[in-house]
């Protein structure tokens, strides 16, 4: 199988790169391009959820926690960089009763700590939590509800520590991003390119994971955990890897969300946004590689477009999406594409969808 598919994947990535790096910057205004950067950040979270949920059956309703950890780590660094060495961020001087920077803020002044932390911190938390929970065989709905409770707890914690976390306001009003002025449209574009590049990189990693032996094991755990255990594997470890990888991706997404959008706050990481991350994945096709990405971007775009015109209609549509897609099209839109393809005779040269994507169904385990 491999030669043909990897050739296709290469073409897919190339097309994706052309769309993201050449077409979008030309076709979209600065404002729309910055919106696209935001959508792509959400899409990164979706890649991770696709891995954990679609492939591993771990419905994680608390990805906001990891998104938030990454986002706050980045935001703390940017705040400290804005304030200058030895100074406290503006909001602390305003609201906090603090005389000095709290100890857990200090390391974030160094980019060498803050940047790795945006990914490693979420992964560490996911590792600790996952190893506790999976080892005790908490799974299915129990896991989903626990991860949701975690998101709720994290929000309460962040809001309660207003002096050091910015409370409900979150962290906002950033001047620069590693020395580059964020007000400058050129630098905004640079942020967009970084976001797009990282997304492609994450896709490559996710594809690698899915196609590897580990990927097959993960699907096996999803479909029958007991059987995998009897074969001599430890399903807890298998799940843990997917969970930690998804957490890292969410963390990175959060970290890039901050310069792209200019804010991180508790409302972005609670129960509701965490479950909204999932809907894009379900719409696009949870078990596929590209489905979650396209789904997440499509849903986020629909939200902006519709809510500009009919705010109430968006809530109905969002509800209907959950109901219709999950209940009646569990494979997401990707399964529609597959159905259409199956009906066609194979030699048909005409492309099926306008974007010849890395056909996700080939990545079947």
């Amino acid at each position: 199988m491999t030669a043909r598919y990897s050739w296709r994947a290469g073409v897919g990535f190339a097309v994706g790169a052309v769309l993201l790096f050449a077409v979008a910057p030309v076709a979209l205004s600065d404002f729309r391009l910055s919106l696209l950067a935001k959508y792509l950040c959400l899409a990164m979270v979706a890649v991770g959820i696709g891995l954990a949920w679609g492939r591993g059956g771990l419905l994680t309703l608390g990805q906001g926690v990891f998104f938030g950890l990454g986002g706050y780590a980045m935001a703390m660094h940017m705040k400290l960089a804005d304030a200058g060495p030895g100074e406290m961020p503006d909001f602390m001087q305003l609201y906090g009763q603090l005389d000095a920077l709290p100890w857990w803020w200090r390391p974030f002044a160094s980019p060498w700590f803050a940047l790795p932390a945006t990914v490693l911190l979420p992964m560490l938390v996911a590792f600790l939590l996952g190893s506790l929970v999976f080892r005790r065989r908490v799974r299915g709905a129990y896991f989903a509800i626990l991860s949701q409770a975690l998101a709720a707890a994290m929000v309460i914690l962040l809001i309660g520590q207003q002096g050091t976390t910015g409370g409900t306001n979150g962290l906002t009003d950033f001047q620069g991003f590693f020395g580059y002025d964020l007000d400058d449209p050129v630098n905004q574009r640079m942020v967009y390119f970084i976001v797009a590049g990282v997304l492609l990189l994450l896709l490559a990693i996710a594809r690698q994971l899915m196609l590897s032996r580990y990927g097959e094991l993960l699907v096996a755990v999803r479909d029958s955990e007991e059987r995998v255990r009897f074969l001599g594997y430890n399903p807890a470890n298998v799940k843990l890897v997917a969970y930690v990888a998804a957490a890292g991706m969410a963390g990175l997404a959060g970290a890039l969300f901050v310069p792209a959008v200019g804010i991180i706050n508790p409302a972005l990481i609670g129960i509701v946004p965490s479950i909204e991350f999932v809907i894009g994945v379900a719409v696009g096709g949870r078990a596929t590689l590209l489905g979650p990405v396209l789904g997440a971007v499509a849903v986020a775009w629909a939200k902006t477009a519709l809510s500009e015109e009919f705010p109430a209609a968006w809530t109905y549509l969002q509800g209907l999406l959950f109901v219709l897609v999950v209940a009646f099209l569990p494979g997401g839109l990707a399964s529609l594409v597959r159905m259409v393809r199956r009906r066609r005779p194979p030699p048909d040269p005409a492309p099926v969808s306008p974007a010849p994507v890395v056909s996700p169904q080939e990545v079947r385990a």
Partner: protein, 295 residues
């Protein structure tokens, strides 16, 4: 001393609220394994029932007592409708049920907004429920909390009796313990599912009536309580009412005692941590149903 007593009373009454909102879930989730995220919106429906009813019956006392069975029926029917239209197709996919019912809850919330308006609506509580019983100057037991405690206990007793001593209860338990065996024994499992769902959702309606005495009545009131309710059932253990009862009162008391000495946020976070830690110790909840499955 009075502080401890009054905090214990508050804790028990928080527990009673938790119990009321979780009791219906302990049937639909605990007995049937259905994760119904729209349960909170059935609570909301119960609360709005009081609001609508008070337009017809102006006496606050009467309207409250009429609202109890009416809200049970309204929420129960909504539940049956949901079961027939959607959930029935998803019994093999519990996680998908969670997402589908989340979608339903979004739609129901927006419907409430469009019908009743986004602001909270106001209901009147009867005078005998806004007062209190004074034991000493510092220790007063408020009537609305006593009423909710009574209501919660009555609901538990009624449910226990129904499950243990009626033929419907026997059928429900049979289906829970072994669906296939129940089916071959001539039990119409589909009908039992619908009835169970009716009762479980109906109890959410009753909880909604009770909540009008304590808090706001608005489109988002259900979302505010739903996670707590699920945690109670998860920690209590599937298939056992007594687990939910014990956990609800334990969490309520824990919350109120911790909150008294610290803050609300700390208490809430601690309760979450306590539940996670508890599930480490007993991953299946307080009481487990013995089955021959490998889990």
């Amino acid at each position: 001393m009075t502080v401890i007593v009054s905090q214990l009373f508050t804790g028990v009454s928080i527990g009673a609220v938790l119990l009321l909102i979780a009791l219906g879930l302990s049937l639909t989730f605990g007995q049937m394994g259905v994760i119904n995220m729209a349960h909170g919106e059935f609570i909301m429906a119960g609360a709005y029932t009081v609001y609508v009813l008070q337009k017809v019956i102006t006496d606050a006392g009467w309207s409250l007592f009429v609202a109890l069975p009416l809200a049970f029926a309204v929420a129960g029917l909504m539940g049956v409708l949901l079961e027939v239209l959607l959930i029935r197709r998803l019994y093999a996919r519990p996680l998908d049920t969670l997402l589908v019912t989340w979608g339903v809850s979004l739609i129901l919330q927006q419907l409430a907004r469009d019908i009743f308006g986004a602001p909270n609506v106001q209901t009147r509580a009867p005078d005998f429920l806004t007062g209190n019983i004074k034991i000493t100057d510092d220790l007063v037991l408020s009537n609305n909390r006593l009423f909710i405690l009574t209501l919660a206990l009555a609901a538990v007793v009624a449910l226990t009796v129904a499950l243990r001593y009626t033929s419907l209860g026997r059928r429900i338990r049979a289906v829970v313990q072994n669906r296939d065996l129940a089916a071959v024994s001539g039990i119409a499992t589909g009908r039992v599912d619908r009835l169970t769902f009716f009762i479980g959702s109906g109890l959410a309606g009753v909880a909604g009536v009770a909540l009008t005495l304590l808090g706001p009545i608005g489109p988002t009131m259900g979302t505010n309580v739903i996670v707590d309710a699920f945690l109670v059932v998860v920690a209590g253990g599937i298939g056992h009412l007594k687990g939910s009862v014990i956990v609800a009162f334990a969490l309520g008391t824990l919350q109120s005692l911790v909150e008294y000495s610290t803050t609300v946020s700390v208490a809430k976070v601690l309760v979450f941590v306590a539940i996670v830690a508890f599930l480490q110790w007993r991953p299946q909840g307080l009481f487990t149903l013995r089955t021959r499955s490998l889990a």
